[in-house]
């Protein structure tokens, strides 16, 4: 049997980080931390959706609100697709795009960044412990 893909340490960490970014809590799910993953997924996605509900898709503004957009993209790469729609300007706005909605979606993104970093750290720690054992 060939070496496990986990044996390539850097690749393993990159995969964990990428999955954690793609789906909030995905990195911890990959590390078999199911409860943690479920909590992260539920609360980050809920916060992001509340932000979208409050301010509509206009909260994602890659043109005029780049710092906020950078934080929002941390939710998932799928936000980039929403940013493309928002940049086209062909959407109805049902709320005020700034303020609460922007804060909610951006904080959700920053929380997911925290989860991504934590997932990579846990994966690294486990690999180091397995190597020592």
């Amino acid at each position: 049997m060939g070496p496990s893909w986990k044996d390539n340490h850097a690749l393993y960490l990159i995969v964990v980080g990428a999955v954690a970014w793609l789906v909030p809590g995905g990195g911890h799910f990959l590390l078999t931390e199911r409860k943690r993953a479920a909590i992260m997924f539920a609360f980050i996605v809920l916060t992001f959706l509340v932000g979208l509900y409050v301010g509509s898709i206009g909260v994602i503004d890659p043109v005029n609100a780049k710092p906020w957009y950078a934080a929002q993209v941390m939710n998932s790469p799928l936000v980039i697709l929403l940013g493309q729609v928002a940049a086209s300007g062909n959407y109805p706005v049902y709320g005020r795009a700034g303020e609460i909605g922007q804060i909610y979606t951006s904080v959700a993104g920053l929380l997911n960044l925290l989860c991504v970093v934590n997932a990579i750290y846990v994966a690294h720690q486990r690999t180091v412990e397995e190597t020592k054992a």
């Binding site: 943690r36 909590i39 992260m40 980050i44 809920l46 709320g95 959700a108 934590n118």
Partner: protein, 79 residues
């Protein structure tokens, strides 16, 4: 959705603080068991709220002083 600028709209921070507390604690605790996790989260939630209230009070008092007593004192100064 309409979000006002009245004091009640400040309550929008509560769900956000709750989410921050829950997600942050989910990365920090060793094992997730419902009751200890709830206690840890409640502790962080409370400390963030207390800090916000203290900061808001200080800012309110500063704004009150700058817009009220301080200009009045300057007007009546003996200089």
């Amino acid at each position: 959705m309409r979000v006002g600028t009245d004091p009640i709209s400040m309550l929008w921070l509560l769900p956000l603080v709750a989410t921050i507390s829950i997600v942050y604690k989910s990365t920090k605790v060793g094992y997730i068991r419902p009751l200890p996790f709830a206690k840890e989260t409640a502790g962080l939630f409370g400390s963030i709220i207390v800090f916000i209230v203290v900061a808001a009070t200080i800012l309110y008092l500063l704004a009150w002083a700058v817009t009220g007593p301080v200009p009045a004192l300057l007007d009546k100064s003996t200089f």
